[in-house]
């Protein structure tokens, strides 16, 4: 909870500062764009947070986005597939990728870093091969489908008429709420947290740790697949070699900023989504405040580092206080315990 307040505070701070320096930040157009991009990155960040909670990592997300995006355009425009069969094929591929990662990591006991690094290379190569490395687009067709990514809906009473909510954000809300309920309210969510902290103890408690880990990789790849579809529909002009490049790093950064520990066993969906928002707002601020864009990576890196350092310091303080409290309790506790 404290973590969410911390990252939420950071988001408010960055937004306020940017708005003061350039009031254009709060224009409906700019906000809608920022929210749409937050949503797109939020979806893949929520996915990767499952893997991070198990103590793993997925470096292949960006390439899955690239592969899926290229496949969508290629199947629809080059191969003439219908929309449902194209989407079906894409979800199947994402699912398969997740299952493969999971099996290699749990059954062959390969390191997640290595498996998904190979995935990163493999799927990028596959995307470029099947499309002949040609850029693809939907042009003016598939208007309805593209609304999934670029559409907006008016929400009367809640927002002024000039502002409408981007549809990807609605998708993110649905996925995010589902993910949060899964993590916090189901026994499987508890299993993921437990095995992320101590896989051995989880197994000794009768948890099928392999299955749970495979499930986490499947959720991650599926989210990347959904993200890939939306990214492709959003940009319309798809470069198989470039779509989604480095997105895994943004997703991991958002998850870490949002309170996931790469050691596993920690993280909240709300935090991760706010983390994704912080990254997008920073990016947006760099643009509209006319900060040289070459500084983009440096600024984002510095903010993440500062966030993680603060978090660690706060955690240490909390640990000390808690240990002191326990000591006091045992000292006062009468009985057979000599202390």
């Amino acid at each position: 909870m404290k973590k969410i307040l911390g990252i939420g505070g950071l988001l408010v701070f960055v937004c306020t500062l940017t708005a003061i320096l350039n009031p254009d930040f709060v224009s409906a157009y700019n906000l809608q764009n920022t929210i749409r991009w937050t949503a797109l990155f939020g979806i893949i960040s929520v996915g990767v947070s499952f893997v991070i909670i198990t103590g793993g990592i997925d470096l292949s997300i960006g390439s899955v986005v690239g592969l899926v995006g290229s496949m969508l355009a290629w199947l629809l425009t080059q191969k003439g597939w219908s929309i449902p069969s194209a989407l079906g094929a894409i979800l199947f591929v994402s699912l398969l990728i997740g299952i493969c990662h999971g099996l290699l990591i749990t059954k062959l006991k390969l390191q997640p870093f290595v498996v998904t690094l190979c995935g990163l290379l493999l799927y990028r190569g596959a995307a470029r091969y099947i499309t002949d490395d040609q850029s693809l687009g939907f042009g003016n067709s598939y208007e309805e489908l593209r609304k999934l990514a670029v559409g907006k809906i008016q929400i009367p009473f809640l927002f002024p008429e000039s502002f409408s909510l981007p549809i990807p954000f609605v998708i993110l809300l649905v996925l995010g709420i589902t993910a949060a309920v899964f993590l916090n309210r189901t026994i499987y969510g508890r299993y993921l947290f437990a095995l992320g902290r101590n896989e051995t103890a989880a197994r000794y408690s009768g948890i099928n740790t392999d299955f749970m880990k495979i499930l986490a990789y499947v959720i991650c790849s599926l989210s990347a697949g959904i993200g890939g579809v939306l990214f492709a529909l959003d940009v319309n002009s798809i470069q198989p070699s470039g779509l989604g490049e480095f997105y895994e790093l943004y997703a991991i950064a958002a998850a870490v900023l949002g309170g996931c520990s790469l050691r596993g066993g920690e993280g909240t969906i709300t935090g991760v989504i706010i983390g994704a928002a912080v990254l997008r707002v920073l990016y947006n601020a760099i643009n509209i405040l006319r900060i040289p864009t070459h500084l983009e990576f440096a600024i984002i890196g510095a903010v993440i580092l500062a966030g993680v350092v603060t978090d660690e310091l706060v955690k240490r303080f909390a640990v000390k206080r808690r240990a002191a409290r326990q000591r006091a309790l045992e000292r006062s506790g009468a009985g057979d315990h000599f202390v």
Binding site: R185, F193, R197, N198, A201, S205, I207, E330, G335, V339
Partner: protein, 508 residues
Amino acid sequence: MADASDGSLLEVRELTKRFPGVLALRGVSLRILPGEVLAVIGENGAGKSTLMKILAGVQKADSGEILLNGKAAEIASVRDAIGLGIVLIHQELNLSDNLDIGANIFLGREPSRFGWMDKRRIHEASRPVLDRIGLRHSPGTLVSQLSIGQQQMVEIAKALSSDARILIMDEPTSSLSHHEAAQLFAVVRQLRSNGVSIVYISHRLGEVKELADRVVVLRDGANAGELGREEISHDQMVKLMVGRDVSQFYQHVPRPKGEVALEVRDLRTSANPSHSINLHVCGGEIVGLAGLVGAGRTELLRSVFAIDPFLEGEIRVAGKRIDVSHPRDAIHAGIGLVPEDRKEQGLVLEMAVRENLSLPSLRRDQKNGFLNRAEENRVTTQMIRDLNIKTPGPEQVVQYLSGGNQQKVVLGKWLAMNPKVLLLDEPTRGIDVGAKREIYRLMEQLAETGVAVLFVSSEMEEILGMSDRALVMHEGRITGELSRGELSEEAVMHLATGRIHKNQEACA
């Protein structure tokens, strides 16, 4: 060289050390004379290891003094200790097994020429120390090719090469064969005659009797007594260690025996494939599984609980054969395991007491995959009360509890499952005396309700005090069974060292 007043090489005065949740040392004092073998004994958790770690600079005392040759010595780091001639040889050896013997002996202080390591000089300088302890291997031999006993010799050589005057050995024979142990004793005696003082920590009273010039006994973090060479006897040592009548600590009440609850037939574990194991435990019975470290007891429990696959054999619970390929199956059949390593295997340390207690029962209590919060809270409250777990509340993170309370949480996980069979692997290792007694009471209460209890213990007192019946293992097989009436330290040791006894007694 020693202080004229009492001739001590090293004197420790009133050392105190506190860890979160436990006062490990409460004003311990100790003298070490030049050229003696001083045994420090005590039960687990008595403070032996903490005391030795402080002497060797691994940990710092909260208060107290250390005098070397009568002068106050500051030991803030391992380096300081080595500089003063004090070296600790850990129970778990600290060698880099990818390096050779010579490199290990000189690790961290390699002779070098212009920054280049001088391998030849290392090997030359290693030879005399190796000769001194009678290890006939070339200094160029990789440590990974040595047996555990030989590796221990390398540790000793490493200590000697840094001119150690006080050598602290923590349970040095715990993983040695008899032959290797005998060799170690010879080296210890020879070092003593060369004027090296040896502090020898051991649970094995036989060894202590054989080697020690003097015995210091610790109990609950304080001095419990001292025995001179002539006073050292098994009974004297046990009396000081336990500090009370053993019979009072273990109040054995006979219980009615039920039907066979757990049966293991012709089980061959992958750890000991050449022997097959047969055993049974009746409902309401507490069976102790004794044996030396490495006898295959833990492996047996792990196979029954399906953590390690077994090669062949069958496991029956309440007469029904069960198929176990994952701990989940064993749990489903009504088996619980309190594992050997509480922190690694028993608990998710960073999670709350509630989350740990409910981990195995979540599946049973689920509502279509959703957590059953009400049931979870009920079970947690009940377990904290029934087991008298000392915690500020159900949300306290387990890692901040004392060892005894942590162990009660592990037990609580299984009690919540109402098991038919409870396996416990060293259930009281590293917990204080008060909590120990509570764990014993819990085991007895469980047996009274008809649970079959099978526990592994390396503490003789525990096996003798708790078992309705004891099974003894040696090198992967059960060498015999001792009924309550036949239980004695000698009888257990005979079987534990490989003499074969008789068949097992039947259930009701």
